[in-house]
Each structure stands twice: as C-alpha cells, then as structure tokens.
C-alpha cells in the first residue's frame, strides 16, 4: 500500500512537470514582428510577391512564423509557415517568404466552416481579421476566386462522366445600348469531385499580408502590421547566350540560345535578321508549348527566310546580323543582345555525325507507360583505377552503358599489350602490368555483343581512355587530359525531342550525356484534367467548369481539335455556326468591297469545313446518343493520341553546331509510337519456375506427411535439453518463462516457436509447473493463449490453466524487454525459453537470465542474435534447426512436410549452384545470366 501511494505521488509530480513545461517560462511572446516589406518578384508573369521581415530575437524561442494573406485587409487567411529551430533562432537579419506560382487553395479536406485563428482570443489584436486556411464553405471561397488566378485539378473520370450540365446566360448591354445575351454551357461538379483547386496571384491587384510568430509553447505573438503589395507583369529577362551559325552547303541557318530562368508566361522566341541597312526583319518565331517546354535551338532554311524577307540573299550573309527576342504572353519582348551578332559560316562537314541506329521501341515488361529511346554503340567508362604500391597490379573499376540493341556480352580490355577478356561483367578487373606511373597509359576496350540479328559492331569500334598517376594528389586521373576520341565524345551531348498526337510543338524530353545510350521515357497514364477559374452556384453547391476534351492534332489544321462534353451542347454549337454562316452569306449579298468579300468567303469556308470535315472518331462518337458512351469513345482516343509520341534526337555542342536524326519511323511506317502494356514479365521466368517447383514440393510433401508417410529427419542434438530444462524447473518448483519471439505471426520463426510452446506447455502442465508467456505482438497474444490452453486440455489439466500467464506487455521493443527482465527477476524463473524471432534486444534478456541463474534454451533464425544465444545460453537451436526441432517435437505433418520440401529445394539449389559455378569457371556465363542480379 505504501509503495503504491508513493508512486501515485511520483506520478503526480510527473504530471505537474508536464504542465509546467507546457507553460514553460521564457521571454513573453508579446511583441509583433517588425518591418514587414512586400516587393514584386522580377521577370515574372505577375504571379509572385516577396515578403521580408525582421525575425524576433532568439530568446523568444520562436518555432514558426505563420504567414496570412487576403485581398482585403480585414480578412486574412493562413497560407503557410516558416519553421524555425527554437534553440538557435534565425541567424539572418531578415526572413523571406515568396508567395509565387500555383499554391494550394481549397479541397474537400479543408475546414468545414470559416475558423478564426487559434490563440486569437476576442479583443486581442488580429482576432477579427485572422482566419485559418480557406474553408470548404462555398459562401466563403466562392467569391474569393474572383480575386486570384485559379487552376482546378480534376480526376478524368469525374470530369468526363459525373458532371451536371448547366447553361448560363449572361445579359450585358454593349456601349451602343444593344442588349446581347451570350449563353455558355458548363460542367457542374461538387467540390469533393475535384482533386483540389490551386491559386495564384493575379496582376494589378492589391494583396494584404501579415505575419505572426509562434513560440515553443505555441502561444502566438501579436499580429504584425498589415502590409500590402501589388504584382506587375514584368518583361522577360535577357537571354545570356545566343549563337548564329550559317551552314552554307545545307542552305540553312542554325541558332542556339540559353534558357530564361522564369518561364511560366513564355509565349514565343523571335529571331530577327538585320540587313545591310540595319533594317530589322522577323525571320523565325517559335511558339512555346503550354505548359512550358524548354527549347534552345532552331533551324531556319534560307527559303523560309526569303518568304518573310524578300530581299534576302545568302551572298550578303557576311553583312547580315542576328538577334533573338523573348516574348511573354502579354507581348512584352526583350532582346538578348544589345548589338546583333553576325553568323559564323561553316560547311556541314564540320558538324558532328548524327547518332547511329536511333530507335524508339515499346518498353517490354511494363504496364504500358514506358518507351525505349536508344542509339549508338556500347560505351564503357572508368569509375576508378587502383594500383598496388609497386605499380605492378592495376585494378580497373569500369561501368558499361549499353542499349537493348547492343547488349554487351564480353568486354575485352587492353593495357599496353596485355589483353584481358571479362566474361562476368562484375565491373572489376585486375591487370598485371609494369606501369611507369610517371607516363600516361592507354586502356582500350572492345565489345562482344549478344546476337539478336542486329548489324554487327564495326570492326574498328573501340573506346580508349587515357590515365595518368598524379603524384601530387596521389590518385590516378582518368581522361584528364582526354585523348582525341574522348575530346570528340565530351564536346557534344544529345537532346531528345518528342511530340504527342494532340499538340503541335516538339517537347524537350531529356538531355543525355555522351556516355548514355538509352533513355526510358516515362509515358504516365493520364489521370487528371486542368481547368481554369470555375463559376459557382451557392444554391446548387456546385462549381462549373468549361467543357472540352482535346482529341487529336487534326491535319495540323486544328492542332488541338477539341470536343464538348455534351451532345446537346455540340448540337447547339453547330447550330450557332450554321446561323453565323447564314448571316455571313447575307452580308455577302450586300458587300461590295473586294477584300471584304474575300475575308467573308474565307470565314464561311473555314466554318463549313469545321462542321463537315471532322475526324473519323468524332463522327462515330457523335452518332452515339448517350453522353457517357460518346465520352468514353472520345476519351479512349484522346488517351491514345496524348500518349503516342514521335521522337528525334539532336546532337549539339550548345553553340549552334548541331545535327538532327530524322524522326524515327517504325518498320511498319508508323511514326507515332504508343506504349503497350505487357501481360507477362519475361524477366521473372526463372522466378516463376522456382516458385512453381517449390510450391509443388511444399504441397506434395505436406500431403505425404499428412498421409502419415514416414519422413526421415536426422536426430537434432538438444531436443533432449528441452525436456531436461522443464524437469529442472519442476524440481526447483519455479516457473518457466517462454518468449515466443518479438515479431508477428507472419514470421515463420514465431510459428515454429508457438509449435514448440505447445509441447513445452503440455509438459509443464503435466508436471504442474507454472509457465509464463509474455507477448509483444497483440495478434500473437490470443494465439499463444489458445496454444497454452489447448496444451493444458491435452495434458488433462484444464483447471491449472491461468489466462493471465499469457499476457501482452507492450509494442515497444525495449519496453518489452524491460518487462521481461522484470519478470525474470521478480518471478525467479528457473528455465527460460527464447524461441522465435529476436532483434537487437536478445542479449539484454539472456544476460539477465544468466544472472538469475536460469537454464536458458534459445532457438532463432535471427542470424545476428545467434552468437549471443550460443555464448550465453546452455543450448541454442541455430537457424533452421529451430524449424527442424519444432517439426521433430510437434510431429505436425505441416511443419514436417515443409521442412522436407525445403530440404529438397536446398538440394536442388546446391546442384544448380555447383553446375553454374563450373560453367562460369569455364567462361560459359549464359547459365548464371538466367538468374537475377537484383
């Protein structure tokens, strides 16, 4: 009783300490953040503001600065925080937060109601203005949307199949007083159908910000003064580099330039030619895809220049000068060079050779979301060269880059005269060479590739590296300086360009170094659509998005051929166009001016074409009379088009000297490659066989065992020990401790442990000796209970079964051990069994056990625990001996059969390995190569 009261007290203290810590005591957090400044982010699209303020002194123990934003000063919402380390505070004298780009706005998981910020008690400064994140209450976030740019991310399925059509009619009077009504059809969705909605600052609006600091006890400082800022859409920044190259014999100009940093409102690049009179002529424009894709070069043939600048004459090239302008979506333009530059005149012979065997293939063994882009012959590089002190033995650590056309089978390396063939490509090869390490050495590699009917490697194809020993650095320098071949290699890199079937601008997919030979292009499955600012209706609690789905790049005439979601909408659109046509034709009657007539006729033609000439798929789809089916048909086609790509590769030095491969055309003449999904992973064949084999073994062995077939198991020393140990406990009249491991039931060791437990428990029950079974896993617990209970029944002593003798201590590894130790010492257990899976804590138990002088018997397959059990326990079952023992004891056909099955599997493994080793030793590597390396 005294004990308990004492510890009741201790507990009380402990609780008090907690509370005191919760209150703590540090400088009161009663001063606001000072000097909040808000500036526009330069060169951007007007979507960014930068906040800066003075951090509070570190005595304040601040852990985070919280940032609030609003479009009116009287309601600010939490938009983000900057976590700080309380101990060290902030070293710098100003802190920054950049509110830029698309940031999270609202989704179905946002707060339900408009919530005032915590810690902002009524009356305190900021109470009336500070709110938590934007709530999912449309009354609140709906109107807010008009004050920002909005981007909704919508799951395809929801957008295409589960929207509610609604027609909005807007009436507005134009300046000449005529009232015109425009009706738009939009797709209505609930907020929870939308993945989430993003927001971004918009140009020319005032935004209000305030900062609040939380200290270690999460008590908030008073609100900083509310500062406001306004974003401006700045003109693009200057491009750093621009090169013009005239390839005379090819009759084309090649341009290359460096990329801008800020790209989100990039519209197009314009290249200008300045003629001998310094007149500016626009000769090339490259519109930028949306979303932005970096593009750093262009080819402009003479004739296309001539088309824009009649007087163009290649002969005058030496007088021509060039410049490039970067233009943003507000048509602000910045020229790269203050002074236009002349073109460097070269002939195509000085250009690099395009990569050979450029191929695009569907990636095998994937779920249909990868394409292989590869080219060229294999390459090997040296990652490391090490040597012994006498410079007589070189260890070459190499790596090979290859592609699926030329898979390297062997690597043949030559260092001054000595040639060695690497059969097993383990990235390591030893050389015996006398190396005068003061002179550079050459290592030459040739390849033997797997035969797959590909064109053989050129006879003379070899890669040679130079290396020298740097006595200063005490290291071997590789390709430093590089030899001619390496110079050539290192000078150029590859750019992979691709375009899908729903757009008109090539995208820059990947830059590849001169080492790389293969690029696996990830073509992810489409899951979401992006739509701009929705309308909303409070009464229906719905958001309304514009309805369209891009289908295909149709005849390059409609790069983004789109279709509306609803048939009715479609009909309506066609009607409108037809009416328009009629109107125009009426105009034609009256119109007299020639040009005007031409214009009108063109428009009529365009419209009629749009109505009559539609892609096949669209025609078919529009015949269906269910929106769902129609959408499905179009969506499938959309996915196919959006996910099939054309590729070409550009080899460049970044200074305008580049060549392209032709766009890849598959043997079947198709240029757009579509990734197919595969239905069997051929890499796993060997695994498949092994699994089948093993399954069969396990199944039949257990069957046999169940049939009572005698299955021989060699005698295992130490099973005796178990009986003796139990006997001892009985003599001493002390309890037995049995720990069935620490891991869960999914662990084979645990099961074996439980099997042994049932035997031990039975014996114990017979001798009427108490047995304690602490469990860590709460799913093992009831099973252990069952086991012990059953054992008592079998022993015919159900009365002696005490439910509390099998108990749960805790999940926590060490706490559990602490518990077990406590038991050992308090209960003075005479025999301790540790049967099952143990981790780093095992010694803690066995040591305590040996201190209490108990007989200890362990069995585990936890390799790293075995040594301890071996040195501290009286007997230890090593690894599978545990299974064997449990099989032997329990004689369960289950365990027995499995053991047998594993035995035979082992036999097979041994035979296979021996065979494989013999083969590989005589350089036959095909066999071992069937087996996976990782």
């Amino acid at each position: 009783m005294k004990v308990c009261s004492k510890f009741g007290l201790l507990l009380l203290i402990f609780t008090l300490l907690l509370v005191s810590s919760a209150l703590g005591d540090m400088l009161p957090n009663n001063e606001p953040v000072e000097g909040l400044k808000i500036e526009d982010v330069p060169h951007d699209d007007g979507g960014g503001l930068m906040l800066s303020w003075k951090p509070l002194p570190k005595e304040k123990r601040i852990i985070e600065y919280r940032i609030y934003r609003g479009y009116t000063p009287d309601s600010l919402f939490y938009i983000g925080k900057i976590p700080v380390d309380a101990k060290t505070g902030v070293a710098a004298d100003t802190m920054r937060y950049v509110d830029q780009g698309w940031t999270f706005f609202v989704d179905a998981t946002s707060h339900a109601k408009l919530k005032h910020e915590k810690g902002q008690k009524k009356g305190t400064k900021g109470a009336e203005v500070l709110y938590r994140t934007v709530p999912r209450d449309m009354k609140v976030y709906g109107p807010m949307m008009d004050h920002y740019r909005m981007l909704a991310v919508i799951p395809d399925k929801e957008y295409l199949y589960h929207t509610k059509m609604r027609e909005f009619t807007d009436v507005d009077t134009t300046e000449d007083g005529t009232i015109d009504t425009t009706s738009t059809i939009l797709a209505g969705m609930k907020l929870e159908q939308v993945k989430y909605i993003l927001t971004k600052l918009t140009v020319g609006k005032d935004y209000y910000y305030a900062i609040q600091a939380l200290n270690m006890n999460r008590t908030a400082s008073p609100l900083s003064e509310i500062a406001s800022g306004r974003t401006t859409d700045d003109p693009p920044e200057k491009l750093k580099e621009f090169y013009a190259v005239d390839v005379t014999d090819k009759e084309q100009l090649q341009f290359e330039w460096s990329l801008p940093v800020f790209t989100s409102d990039q519209k197009q690049f314009n290249i200008y030619l300045y003629d001998e009179f310094d007149d500016q002529h626009l000769i090339f424009t490259r519109p930028d895809a949306y979303p932005y894709t970096p593009q750093t070069n262009a080819i402009v043939p003479y004739d296309s220049i001539a088309a824009r600048f009649e007087a163009f004459n290649p002969a005058n090239m030496k007088w021509y000068k060039f410049n490039i302008g970067e233009q943003d979506r507000q048509d602000q333009e910045t020229l790269a060079k203050d002074e236009p530059i002349p073109a460097e005149m070269i002939s195509s012979t000085t250009l690099p050779h395009p990569p050979v065997h450029f191929t695009v293939k569907d990636q095998p063994n994937d779920k249909g979301d990868q394409l292989q882009v590869y080219f060229g012959y294999p390459y090997y590089g040296l990652s490391k060269l090490t040597y012994n002190d006498e410079f007589t033995k070189l260890t070459v650590t190499y790596f090979i880059t290859e592609n699926s056309m030329y898979e390297v089978n062997r690597l043949i390396l030559t260092i001054n005269g000595t040639t060695k063939t690497e059969y097993v490509l383990d990235n390591k090869l030893d050389f015996k060479v006398n190396w005068d390490h003061t002179h550079p050495m050459e290592i030459t590699g040739r390849f033997v590739c797997k035969h797959k009917g590909q064109a053989p490697l050129p006879e003379d194809y070899a890669v040679t590296h130079t290396f020298i020993f740097d006595t200063e650095m005490q290291v071997v320098l590789i390709d430093n300086p590089p030899n001619e071949q390496m110079k050539e290699f290192q000078e150029y890199y590859f750019q992979v360009y691709k375009i899908n079937h729903t757009s008109d601008v090539y995208r820059y997919a990947k830059q590849m170094s001169f080492r790389e030979r293969e690029y696996i292009d990830k073509v992810s499955y489409e899951t979401v659509q992006f739509r701009g600012r929705p309308r909303f209706s409070l009464d229906e609690k719905r958001l309304y998005f514009s309805t369209y789905l891009s289908i295909v790049n149709y005849k390059d005439h409609y790069p983004f051929y789109t279709q509306a979601l609803y048939l009715d909408q479609l009909k309506q659109q066609d009607e409108e166009i037809k009416e328009e046509i009629v109107k125009l034709q009426a105009e034609l009657e009256t119109e007299t001016d020639k040009e005007e007539i031409e214009k009108i006729e063109n428009r009529i033609n365009l419209m009629t074409e749009y109505i009559e000439d539609k892609p096949m798929i669209v025609k078919e789809a529009n015949l269906l009379n269910s929106d769902k089916e129609r959408m499905k048909m179009l969506y499938d086609d959309h996915c196919k088009n959006a996910r099939s790509f054309k590729y070409y590769i550009r080899k460049t030095d970044g200074k305008g000297h580049f060549v392209d491969t032709p766009v890849y055309t598959a043997p079947n003449g198709e240029q757009y490659i579509f990734p197919k999904q595969n239905w069997f992973n051929t890499d796993e064949v060997i695994t498949f066989i092994a699994v089948l084999l093993f399954t069969a073994l396990v199944y039949f062995m257990i069957k046999a065992a169940r049939k009572g077939k005698r299955l021989y198991i060699r005698p295992i020393a130490g099973i005796q020990e178990i009986d003796n140990a139990i006997g001892r406990a009985t003599e001493m009249g002390r309890p037995i401790l049995f720990v069935p491991g620490l891991s869960g039931i999914s662990d084979v060791a645990t099961l074996a442990g439980l099997a042994i437990l049932s035997k031990v428990a039975k014996k114990a029950a017979e001798y009427d000796t108490k047995i304690l079974v602490p469990c860590r896993d709460f799913i093992v617990l009831p099973i252990a209970q069952e086991t012990v209970k059953e054992a008592h029944y079998e022993a015919g002593r159900p009365d002696t079964y005490d439910k509390n003798s099998v108990f749960f201590i805790t999940q926590a590894q060490f706490a559990f051990v602490a518990g077990v130790n406590g038991i050992m010492i308090r209960e003075k257990t005479a025999t301790n069994f540790y049967m099952g899976m143990f981790w780093a804590e095992s010694l803690l138990m066995t040591e305590t056990g040996s201190m209490t002088g108990a007989i200890q018997i362990a069995g585990t397959d936890a390799v790293n625990q075995l040594p301890f059990f071996i040195t501290t326990c009286d007997y230890t079952l090593i690894g599978e001996e545990l299974y064997a023992a449990s099989a032997y004891l329990s004689n369960q056909p289950l365990i027995l059969g499995t053991l047998k099955a594993q035995d035979y599997m082992k036999l097979i493994i041994v035979i296979t390995v021996v065979l494989g080793t013999i083969l590989s030793t005589v350089h036959l590597t095909f066999f071992m190569n069937w087996f996976p390396t990782k």
Partner: protein, 199 residues
C-alpha cells in the same frame, strides 16, 4: 527552463535505469513501467493524426468515397478480438492484411534465393571465392536434415560449423561494439548535456 527540467528528468530516469545494475529496486521498476506507458501513449495520437485522419477519415467522410465504408467496417471488426464469443470476426481484417503474403512468395524467392544463388556462381578464380563457395555449400548441407551427419559427408558438413562459428564470432565482436557504443552514448548524455563536463 523547460529544457532544463527536461534534461534533469532525462538524467533522473537514466539513473533509475542504471540503478538496476546494483539490484532490482523501486526506481528501476518505476522507470520501467513509466517507459511502457509513455511509449504506448506516444503511439496513439501519432497513428490517429498520421494514419487514421488522412487515410480513413478524410477520404470517406470528406472526399465522399463511400466505397471505403467497406474497409472501414472491416477495420472495426478487429475489435471483436475482445469478445470471447465473436473473436472469430476479427479474422476478417487479419485475413485481408495477410493477402500481401502472396507477394512475399515470388519476391522472397527472387531476392533471398535466386539473387544469392547467382552471386555464388562466380568463376572460382581466386582463393577467397573458392573458400566462400565451399563454405556456403557446406553450411547449406549442414542444414540439410534428410541425411544423418556420418562419414565423409559428416566431415564435410562439419566444415560448415567452423565457417558459422567464425561468422558468429564476427557478429559477436560487432555486437559488443554496439552495446558499448550505446553505453558511451548515455554517458555522453550524462556528462555532456546534463553535467556539462564535455563540450
């Protein structure tokens, strides 16, 4: 101050634990039981905030993915564990979770068996590889229970024991290291953070 209290508590508890070295005593018992409680208590809010809310509550009740009601109920079935009559119901969630073992079959075969096999098939071109090769084989056979360890075969398998013992010796040495590292860690705390003897 908050930290100071903290450090003193930590130090106090550390000493409680160490007191066990002298003999089992109330202080140790207190620390021990405290530990059990605190670690479990730590686990509850964490799982609530980091697993229940984002993966169960939000999708079902906020994102309105009503299909998730099924796993939600299955999860609740766990609790029948405590009813002696209906404890079998809790097998459903367990069984569901167990499904993943299907992946364990081929992947286990792949990573734990086949990959290891390949690495054994290296050409026997230096003494170490040869030693490793025979060592591994002999150990495999040591754990081959269908044949008694007699005669030449017995001799060969016993090579396995030697390899194992050396191997165990190695990890033994390591374990000693580890334990001592931990002790050092604690002493560093006591001397450094608490008493400030080492800077």
């Amino acid at each position: 101050m908050t930290e100071t209290i903290g450090i003193w508590i930590a130090a106090f508890l550390t000493l409680c634990m160490f007191s066990f070295l002298y003999k089992d005593n109330p202080f140790y018992k207190f620390a021990e039981h405290l530990f059990v409680g605190v670690s479990m208590g730590y686990y509850i809010p964490y799982t609530f905030y980091n697993a229940f809310i984002p993966y169960a509550y939000e999708p079902l009740f906020l994102k309105k993915e009503y299909i998730l009601i099924i796993p939600f109920i299955i999860g609740i079935l766990y609790w029948f564990r405590f009813s002696s009559k209906y404890s079998w119901v809790s097998r459903y969630p367990i069984a569901f979770g167990m499904g993943i073992v299907g992946m364990g079959v081929p992947m286990g075969m792949h990573a734990n068996v086949l990959v290891q096999m390949r690495t054994m098939m290296l050409p026997l071109n230096n003494i170490n590889i040869i030693l490793i090769f025979f060592g591994t084989i002999s150990i495999l056979l040591y754990f081959f229970f269908s044949k008694a360890h007699k005669g030449v075969y017995g001799k060969f398998t016993s090579i396995g024991i030697w390899f194992m013992m050396v191997g165990f010796g190695a990890s033994f040495g390591y374990t000693v290291m580890a334990r001592i590292s931990l002790l050092i860690g604690r002493i560093q705390f006591l001397l450094g953070d608490w008493l400030g003897l080492i800077k």
